[in-house]
């Protein structure tokens, strides 16, 4: 591999790589605002100023390709001075309202100012201000904080495929806004907030809910569709606050869709059944685990039982269910359900040109690997034992007797005989197989709320009941 020298260190790079990325290999971080590895290079913030031996002018590392034998300094006086001056220019019109800014603590402008800016402000003129229009339900804009990096414009045009963010006016009056002041159209709008290097575009869903440095982060996988994008769940206490995409070049690059981003909200839904419940007349009644498990067993006793597993379960859960049923309901058919109209992986496909897949559950391909057949219909007079992770759409089971295990909202289980509440994707570890056949790990971020239990515990209780043993 060719090598160049950055700050005295020999750095290997792939041909075509720019200096920002090459420096990263050596652990040297060159500050950037407009540069994003997933977007075109525009070299307009000028923050990544470096000195290249043999070139008199300061160069921007983002637009300079590393070359064999190139000698680069990120710490020369000229480079440091250039970066400091860019920081000064960027801050003269920035409101410096960090104490009330939701981005504070999670802000490239703050970080780079801390690392490369000067300590004093020489600007005494009036600051530039803008009026903001509403940008729709996802993003809140504050143009006064904008540093004109144009990442959002390029994200819209190059990734989301919608030229909805534009630069209006010119010079110091340049305003970054939506075309004609319309609300954002893309269903990938949350990424605008992710790539914004300052507090100009923030997520309406998250702002003022939690300070960015107060959350814990868990690296896991989105369960929104069979793409299975890599995500970070940000949580504190037992509450998930937001989902951020995690870079994974093999799956989602740097992005996620809004559906996946906001999917986690159902785990905190006030209608989620988080205590075991059984039917009493037309309503469901909360019960202790032992009572509910006994009722469930009694309800299924003597019936022709068919097993339905949601394709939103993990491989481990599905295997446990298979083993459980072999033991408890020998010969009972097991089938999977998930997205209406998407029965097998052949029905699954790209739902758009970016990330989304047609299968709205994460583990359809894993279910097939375990040999579980798609659900078509219950046979006559059969009762159903339904296992569900939280996203799979329960098919119409008519007037059959149904016992539900897993995550259900109250309306979804309105006709069930019993519900044994389980853990959602954020509350368990496990493995899923995405549409490309790639195994990925779900990691637990929070604990199952209320009385909900992990699948292993529920199955154990059910099987003990089946053999006449008492339950905890």
């Amino acid at each position: 591999m060719p090598t160049c020298t950055i700050d005295g260190r020999q750095v290997e790079f792939k041909p075509g790589e720019n200096l920002v990325d090459a420096a990263k290999h050596a652990g040297i971080s060159i500050p950037v605002f407009c540069y994003h590895p997933g977007l075109t290079v525009v070299a307009q913030c000028r923050m990544c100023a470096v000195e290249v031996q043999g070139i008199k002018k300061i160069q921007t590392a983002c637009s300079t390709k590393a070359a064999d034998g190139m000698v680069v300094s990120t710490t020369s006086e000229a480079a440091k001075q250039a970066r400091q001056s860019v920081m000064e220019f960027l801050l003269i019109n920035h409101p410096l309202d960090c104490p009330i800014c939701d981005r504070s603590g999670d802000c490239d402008l703050q970080d780079n100012s801390y690392g490369h800016g000067g300590a004093y402000m020489r600007y005494t003129e009036e600051r530039r201000t803008y009026m903001d229009l509403d940008m729709g339900p996802v993003i809140k804009k504050n143009m006064n904080r904008c540093i004109h990096c144009t990442r959002c414009i390029r994200f819209g045009a190059e990734i989301a495929g919608v030229r909805e963010m534009v630069a209006l006016q010119r010079s110091n009056n340049t305003e970054i806004t939506t075309l004609d002041g319309r609300p954002l159209e893309t269903d990938y709008a949350g990424n605008y907030a992710d790539i914004c290097p300052t507090g100009s575009l923030t997520l309406k869903d998250f702002r003022f809910k939690k300070r960015a440095w107060m959350v814990k982060k868990t690296q896991t996988v989105c369960e929104g569709c069979s793409k299975c994008c890599s995500i970070d769940l940000h949580w504190d206490g037992n509450t998930v606050y937001r989902t951020l995409p995690r870079e994974n070049q093999a799956v989602n690059k740097w992005w996620i869709c809004d559906e996946g981003r906001f999917n986690f909200h159902y785990i905190h839904d006030e209608n989620r059944i988080i205590a075991p419940a059984t039917r009493k007349g037309s309503a469901m009644e909360e019960k202790s685990w032992s009572e509910a498990v006994s009722s469930a067993r009694d309800a299924l006793k003597g019936k022709k039982v068919e097993i339905l597993v949601g394709s939103d379960l993990t491989l481990e859960e599905a295997k446990m269910v298979q083993a459980f049923c072999r033991d408890m309901f020998p010969g009972a058919p097991i089938s999977h359900f998930g997205t209406p109209g998407i029965k097998t992986s052949k029905d699954d496909g790209d739902a758009d040109k970016i990330l989304k897949r047609k299968s709205k559950t994460s583990n359809l391909h894993g279910m097939e690997k375990l040999g579980i057949q798609p659900f078509s219909a219950l046979s006559k007079d059969a009762a159903a034992l339904v296992f569900r992770g939280g996203r799979a759409v329960v098919p119409d089971l008519g007037s059959a007797l149904v016992v539900g295990v897993g995550v259900f909202l109250k309306p979804q289980a309105a006709k069930f005989e019993a519900v044994l509440p389980g853990a959602s994707f954020a509350e368990k570890d496990g493995t899923i197989i995405n549409s490309a056949g790639m195994e990925q790990k779900l990691m637990r971020a929070v604990l199952p709320p209320g009385e909900s239990r992990q699948m292993s515990e529920i199955l154990m209780m059910l099987s003990r009941c089946g053999k006449g043993a008492g339950v905890a």
């Binding site: 070299a43 923050m47 001056s85 220019f89 960027l90 009036e126 010119r170």
Partner: protein, 430 residues
Amino acid sequence: MSNAVASGETLYIQHFGNEEARSLEYYLKQMKGYTALKKAFGMKVEAIVEEMKASNLRGRGGAGFPTGTKWGFIPKESPKPKYLVCNADESEPGTFKDRDIMRYTPHLLIEGMVIGGYTIGAHIGYIYIRGEYTREAKLLQAAIDEAYAKGYLGKNIQGSGFTFDLTVHRGAGAYICGEETGLLNSLEGKRGEPRVKPPFPAQAGAFGGPTIVNNVETLAAVPHIINRGGKWFSSLGAVEKSGGTRLFCVSGHVKKPGLYELPSGGVTLRQLIYDYCGGILGDKKLKAVIPGGSSAPVLTPDEIDVVLDIEPLMKIGSMLGSAGIMVVSEDYCLVRLIWRITKFYDHESCGQCTPCREGCRWMKDILWRIENGNGRETDLPLLLDIANNINGKTLCALGDAAAGPVSSFVRKFKADFEAHIRGKRCPHAP
């Protein structure tokens, strides 16, 4: 406008003011029109490039890059179409030479473009003309229509088998569209913002194809060079590296402002102001000269013995630029002048890159405070520092164009600024 014809051979100026000159008939009869084109069709492309190199013609738009060398950059084989673009944006304040070429000798430009297209292998040409030149755009279009009708443009030009289509594209009024990549973006229908270089236009220019962008005056010189030879053209210049004559646009406080055609490097600034332009208006004292359009650093009266050419001006820290010479007498406030120039650059900054977008406004605001008696002693080092932080650190040359004048005014006319700051008013104000 009083056009003075200099001694020696002139290529354009004898036709300026003559409205008949713009017709094809006049061009064919009186100016040996389209004979260079016929000659070029009989030449090898390499021979034309050699002739251009021998002519020492240097770009007349401001950068002064040798035209023959530029044409040589175009790759022979290209999967994408090649383009020849004429930069007729002429947006540099103080410059008005291209306007008269388009007004009075449009066929000279058209012929130059066909030869240029033939040489670099482009079949499509654009004249990107500034939006304010409505009359010139119409005149150009009329000349192009005439040329199409008589077979000097279009398919199989004069039986040569060479096809060249020429389109006039009007700008919408932005200084930055005179910067060649800003121009190409605007031509493509995008925002007029300069592009990151490399790639340079010769590699990937208009619509991604290899593109040459030349100034009007540059292209209008091409027929002369082909007709009479690169050596002859080179000998018109008074210095070795700069061939041909040059159009100087003189404005400001001189007795005879206007266009002057003089040998490249043939006169000093003093000769131009005092001998050709008749000296300063009202026989006042000279205060300052901007030698190359408003982006050129200012010169003091002590510096005007400099030869008007690219290298001598560069040596004393200024530039010839587009040869728009602005002369300022002692009656005018220089702080107000540099404020007005900076206001222009602030207004015309495209807003892409940080130092130019933020710095130009900041400098303008400080200069306005000083001019209005609200300046502070610390403003002068601050102005120099801001200018230094812009200079050489921006995406395109507009930042340099804004920073150079400010730092040169502050350094060379410090006393004027201090008089404003200490007197808390503009000494020139009533």
